[in-house]
Symmetry: C2
Subunit: 593 residues, 2 copies
Amino acid sequence: MTVYSVPLREMRFVLHDVFRAADTLTALPGFSDSTADLMDAVLDECAKLCEGVLLPINQSGDQEGCSFKDGKVTLPKGFTEAYKQYAEGGWCGLTAEPEFGGQGLPETLDYLVNEMIGSANLSLGLYPSLTQGTILALTALGTAEQKSAYLPKMVSGAWQGCMCLTEPHAGSDLGLLRTKAVPNADGSYSITGTKIFISAGEHDMTENHVHLVLARLPDAPEGSRGISMFIVPKYLVNADGSLGARNAFSAGSIEHKMGMKASVTCVMNYDGAKGWLLGQAHKGLAGMFVMMNKERLFVGSQGISVAETAYQSAATYAKDRIQGRAATGPANPDKPADAIIVHPDIRARLLFSRSIVEAVRALSVWTHINVDISHKHPDAARRQHADDLVGLMTPIVKACGTGYGSEVANTCLQVFGGHGYIREHGMEQLVRDVRITEIYEGTNTIQALDLVGRKLGIEGGRLFKAWISEVESSLKRLEGRNDMGEFTGPLKDAVARLQALTMWLTEEGKKDPNGRGAAANDYLRFFGLTVFAWMWVLMIEAALAKTDDAAFTATKLAVGRYYMQRVLPQIASLDAVVRAGSTSIMALAEGAF
Amino acid sequence: MTVYSVPLREMRFVLHDVFRAADTLTALPGFSDSTADLMDAVLDECAKLCEGVLLPINQSGDQEGCSFKDGKVTLPKGFTEAYKQYAEGGWCGLTAEPEFGGQGLPETLDYLVNEMIGSANLSLGLYPSLTQGTILALTALGTAEQKSAYLPKMVSGAWQGCMCLTEPHAGSDLGLLRTKAVPNADGSYSITGTKIFISAGEHDMTENHVHLVLARLPDAPEGSRGISMFIVPKYLVNADGSLGARNAFSAGSIEHKMGMKASVTCVMNYDGAKGWLLGQAHKGLAGMFVMMNKERLFVGSQGISVAETAYQSAATYAKDRIQGRAATGPANPDKPADAIIVHPDIRARLLFSRSIVEAVRALSVWTHINVDISHKHPDAARRQHADDLVGLMTPIVKACGTGYGSEVANTCLQVFGGHGYIREHGMEQLVRDVRITEIYEGTNTIQALDLVGRKLGIEGGRLFKAWISEVESSLKRLEGRNDMGEFTGPLKDAVARLQALTMWLTEEGKKDPNGRGAAANDYLRFFGLTVFAWMWVLMIEAALAKTDDAAFTATKLAVGRYYMQRVLPQIASLDAVVRAGSTSIMALAEGAF
């Protein structure tokens, strides 16, 4: 069984000490209630749900999995009851509009709520996150009637939402999708086609399901510019809000997966199912990105959720398991061996894990504060600046949160030796569960291509410049702070190298059509490590300012030093590999693979 | 379903073109028959077994797993029949002494046989490998009676051997083990205790099982110097060779694991089981290393076995799956999209995989040639030199073969996108199966500590110097070869840096008790990458000398260039991290984790 207690203290440190989030958020229209006290109370409440309800069914959920019979999906024992408690707590509508029953709270808070839910039970947490994505799209694009028909039930968690994009032959390349939508006389459409990898496409936990399905109208242009989005409910909704006829779609099968076994993944068949256009015809991909941007940040948080649980479990085991002796002589001479935490290798694994988890958490909180600013700030320029920062950081949060999340889970499994490989301790489940986060909502390479192929190129690097101005402002503030030189020095160096590499890449991209693609993953990783270094500088600054808890400050300094001395140096190799260009990648003939 | 056909051509290239193995082997006493033709015939024969018998039950074996009832273990469908074919082919005794029914063939050949068996079915291949380890120990340490009682049945594969080391509280630290051996009046011993993680400890595939159990005699000193090894058969063996009474031990349960589900892992309870001392009292650990050294090289080959299958599967998928367009314009304008192999990211994953697989295969063959020399060469100095090389390379083959094996499996899974995460394509099984290889037969950190804490220190670096002399001889031979400068240049640089780092580490080890432990994993990785660069230089040299197949040579050049330009540069960061020392690792107080 894994060990997890919600790291409330760490979350509050980032929220209040590092970013003074309440100051920023309460100044935004609509968020005046989001004081530090209120946010703390929300986090406390959610922590109870996570530790008391969601965590206890995480391992059994994996072992039992979902079952499928005659088009019906049954979830593992306890899931429906746990989900009901989640929904009754109002968690599904935390950030939704009050007009539709939501609590209208900041995305920043939602990030921390999602992080802890994911740590407790990644599979269960995925269900409402899909509803939340659907709520976003309906809120942004729906007509007044659509909103009133669907949103209240989704905000309350009574209905499940899901996103239906992928088809057997169309994954990363959605332009290839074939599902058809034919107009009916009554203004609705008949949807026909097959979708795969549909998380939460069908189950017995909610009374209705609302699918947002991407499909082509008869007059659609080819490729990604001919895709429209449709609302396709499982049960049609009568004018009075009651449920009507069963719609003509159903789950054809469910997938057997590596992990996330309590999160159902369906093949969905639409056989002339009734749907309604959401947003404009042929503009479905833009609508999809309304959900996708939130979902990508959410998936980044999933990576870190698992990493936190892996870290806590491994740290607990390392202090308990005795094996071998410290290199400096017995640390615990009364016992036949020392706790394995005396060994440098075990400590290095734990420190690596923690330095990553804390950096990604800080980055996620900072990014979500900017999400809130980009939504609510009265000043359009401030909104744009914040939106630029979010746009630039989204691929980094997603790809680094999940890529390093997987690495942390694996390195923490290794702390357990052979015990990590067996089911009992739960570590192998974490490794299996987190693996999908590197793939779904756009593989990590898709994220890297979004960064180098799109985000860097917008208006001569406007997004990159917006971020650099933020880092420079931090460095300027800390100029002459000798107590921080060991942190600001490596950050300055990394930023300078990143700027040089970004210029190199921009030039290379003009000369070599494969240049960006060849560089993308390693460049993103370099960027992420530099952003993490910045986060560590901000955390150290805040920790040094905290004079009430010397042990806490000492811990932050120790973990931050580990990051600067033993993690950040990875950029040296990434730099060299990016600059190696695409020649050696493209040379080999296809037939020789 | 994964794709695998035995890479016979690659194997022959390494065996014949790169290392001219037959020249060396046939010159050794007892190996005069091991000509290139004979070895080729053996490989062809084994390839049929792998492709026709072992591969087809790999996926079903994973899905069905092993079952346990009333102390009895049942293996998945088809395993007993497949194992019988394996045994009847004489594969179990490939390297065993002809005196006991073995074929007396070189370990070099056995490596390639094991590599292909592991690629086809890692779980099935583990069973005989354990018997083979047991055969080694019995051959080296057994009395004439013990040998004649056990060896013929084990060499033929009729009986299963296994190694019983780990106990619940004693894994990496075997000094803690508690299983007791009390002498009986008849010269046998009564063994009592519990062993865990016993691969092949019990099953229904063979008529008898022979356990080699580590236990303590009543007068045993504490710690690892008080461990003895005992032969403990499941059914006692009568004087005439027939099977007698059932011995007093049994499987208490089997483990539910992340992968290797068709390879049974037992908890074994010995309740006064009858055993016989193998080798000297209290010298059991030395006996264990007779098996362990072979097993460690074998486990390294398991890593590469899985990596090869992952590579072949991903390359096949990448040429078939169409998604997106090449950056240089449509490669396949008649289809709605190009095969994903046009994308730099996909190619980079495949090239990385292949550059690692080929380097580890070459390294393994070279190491096993030295194993054979160390066993058979008439000149003691030559035997010692070869043994030094093997001793130095064993931790590198084990840790890099499996660490990179895992990385390759994961990167190849990613090529499949979401399809990699579901059971159908078999990629997630590869990732789950290979994960244990980083742990068993000594975790990869135990390997790294063996390298820096033991192997480097022997007689002022004798082993390291032996290896350097080999590399320098290659570099000297290639001096002035302009056509190889792009390969020898990076190798020279890496070797120089490795020498400097090794000196730094030796000094650091004297000053800082935690210095070696802090450096071990990264230092080993640096060393491994340098050795791979050397292997690539040797492969390129051989490929350029091969004038009969321009396409083959071109492929080797392309993959070798990829390695030099995009994999080897990892050493830059590893260098920096090793030199960062242990301070940031050891600083944090235990309670703060």
